[in-house]
């Protein structure tokens, strides 16, 4: 699972001018033909850098994303839910593994990425800095946060970088289980007993604001983002993703008799777009910069896993081991 609102690096005006114009033209022609770029191809520095950043953030979001739902892994009610949640959280770890591998093909070793995550240098999706108070929160995440992620990932899977597309193809196939499982859980709560319904409604109330933040603020149209779109690094604007999500899921939430805590939320039938109260972007920035309810805990847990696992890795590491960048 993953959100939009990637933090792309601002391009230096000189960066592109320094690239070999013939190679750059060939590179762009390949993308225009709809062919994928593969790891050993020539690529502009900016392309490599932005992709590493994006795929790495995506990977971090998966490994951190395993934590809010992991909060309920030992408490899932009944065999069916217990097995499903174990498998789902496992999948998130699996997705991180796949994404880190894709980013590695661009030249950044995995352990470096993990170090940058723990030191706070790299970002991950903001939504995972919120706590999962009840079982219903974990159901909201499984269904709707994953639904948002799928909107994003489906767009990105049509991007230009081969290894990222391959990883996303696998991931999207698994996400279909997550989405159905999450929906199944929410349906059971929303149509269940009074207690279950209230639990679910409270979770929707808590998670709606982070969900609207999930896709990031409206994109500023800049030369920079135009280039990333032309190179098929960025595949859809944050607003497009948010609109698509609202269009697909608001009716499904409403049909379960749940309310969404935004009285301005409605589809403008004339324009076909959803109108809503502008999310609080100041809060979004605050949380991204470390001041959310769970930022500290999320990183502390990753750090703990890293430190507790250190003796294992050191014991296994052969002195002559040679790290080789993955091929695909």
């Amino acid at each position: 699972m993953y959100g939009g609102g990637n933090v792309f690096e601002t391009m230096k005006a000189t960066a592109l001018a320094e690239e070999d114009p013939i190679k750059l033209a060939e590179f762009e022609a390949r993308i225009d033909r709809g062919e994928k770029i593969e790891p050993t191809d020539w690529m502009p520095q900016l392309y490599r850098k932005q992709l590493i950043r994006m795929i790495e953030q995506h990977g971090h979001s998966e490994i951190i994303g395993a934590l809010p739902e992991g909060t309920w892994i030992t408490r899932a009610p009944g065999f069916k839910r217990k097995l499903a949640l174990m498998a789902k959280v496992q999948d998130e770890v699996g997705h991180a593994q796949l994404l880190y591998s894709a980013a590695e093909t661009l030249g950044k070793p995995r352990e470096q990425m993990i170090e940058d995550l723990i030191s706070g240098k790299s970002k991950y999706s903001n939504i995972f800095n919120y706590p999962a108070f009840t079982w219903a929160d974990s159901c909201f995440i499984s269904w709707l946060v994953d639904a948002g992620a799928i909107v994003n990932q489906l767009a990105n899977s049509k991007g230009s970088y081969g290894p990222y597309c391959r990883a996303l193809e696998r991931i999207c196939a698994e996400e279909s289980f997550h989405l159905k499982y999450g929906h199944h859980c929410v349906i059971h709560l929303a149509t269940g007993t009074k207690t279950q319904r209230e639990m679910m409604q409270a979770a929707v109330n808590r998670w709606w604001a982070p969900m609207m933040h999930f896709f990031g603020p409206s994109d500023k149209i800049s030369v920079h983002s135009e280039i990333l779109m032309r190179w098929k690094v960025k595949m859809a604007s944050n607003d497009e993703c948010r609109q698509q999500f609202l269009d697909m899921y608001v009716p499904k939430i409403w049909e379960l008799g749940l309310t969404i805590p935004d009285e301005n939320l409605k589809k403008n039938e004339a324009t076909g777009t959803w109108e809503f109260t502008e999310p609080d972007w100041e809060e979004f920035k605050r949380v991204i910069n470390g001041d959310g309810p769970c930022n500290k805990e999320r990183l502390a847990v990753r750090r703990m896993a890293e430190e507790r696992g250190r003796w294992v890795r050191q014991a296994l590491l052969a002195p002559q081991a040679k790290y080789v960048t993955p091929l695909a």
Binding site: R30, R33, E35, I37, E38, T40, G70, T71, T74, K80, A84, A87, G94, Q97, S101, E104, R110, E111, I114, E115, I118, S119, F133, R166, A167, R170, E174, S176, F177, K180, Y181, H183, H184, I187, H188, A190, T191, E255, L256, G257, K296, E297, A300, R303, M304, E306, E307, R313, Q314, L316, L317, A318, A321, K322, Y323, V324, T325, P326, L327, A328
Partner: protein, 206 residues
């Protein structure tokens, strides 16, 4: 102590604040990488599934099995190869055969056995094509060029010595026997349209 909603985290008694930044991960804290290939059904070609980090090939196999064949209806076999031991050709554009860029002729020598994988389209997976005998890697590629009829252009070739491949034993194929039983990992197991319908009807009645 850090207080968490996750009882697992509370049991670990993490500090509220760490006193020092984490010790930097040493350069060495990075395993070798292995390429994993999966055969879903007998007779189908092995297909590249992805990579794992592992300290040796036995563990690479253990890891690849769960990372790349834990779901789906079938899996027949799995193999892993250390990335370092794979030789890779250039990448051509779609439509251009990489074998056409190779010069020279196959020696006809059969001192060493090699396994060959082809990529037919950018963005897709490398697939196993077969085994050739030759004297070295370059010769192996030339042997492959002679051996395999190429209806579609091959864009990239991976070649490795046969001895580098760790393959699941035939008698161990039963480690995938219960794959299709694990319905809880499958979207199909989560249908609930009836429940929504019943709920709506109930609401309508009021």
């Amino acid at each position: 102590m850090l207080k968490s909603l996750d009882p697992r985290v509370n049991r670990l008694a993490l500090p509220e604040e760490f006193e020092a930044p984490m010790a930097s991960k040493e350069q060495l804290d990075q395993f070798e990488t292995y390429q994993a290939f999966v055969q879903t059904k007998e007779g189908k070609p092995f297909e590249h599934a992805g990579i794992v980090h592992a300290p040796n090939e036995e563990m690479a196999f253990l890891f690849a099995k769960e990372q790349f064949s834990r779901r789906g209806m079938f899996c027949n076999a799995l193999c892993v190869v250390k990335t370092e031991l794979i030789q890779v050709t250039e990448f051509t554009d779609n439509g251009q055969d990489v074998y056409d860029t190779l010069e020279g002729n196959y020696s006809g020598e059969t001192s060493e056995s090699f396994e060959v994988f082809h990529l037919l389209k950018r963005g897709k997976q490398h697939k196993y094509i077969g085994n050739v005998q030759a004297k070295d890697f370059e010769d192996g590629l030339l042997a492959a060029k002679e051996t395999y009829s190429r209806d579609k252009p091959v864009l990239n070739v991976w070649i490795t010595k046969s001895e580098n491949i760790l393959m699941s034993d035939e008698e161990d194929v039963d480690i995938w026997n219960t794959l299709k039983e694990k319905k809880y990992r499958d979207a199909i197991d989560y249908r609930a349209a009836d429940k929504i319908k019943a709920f709506k009807e109930e609401q309508a009645q009021g």
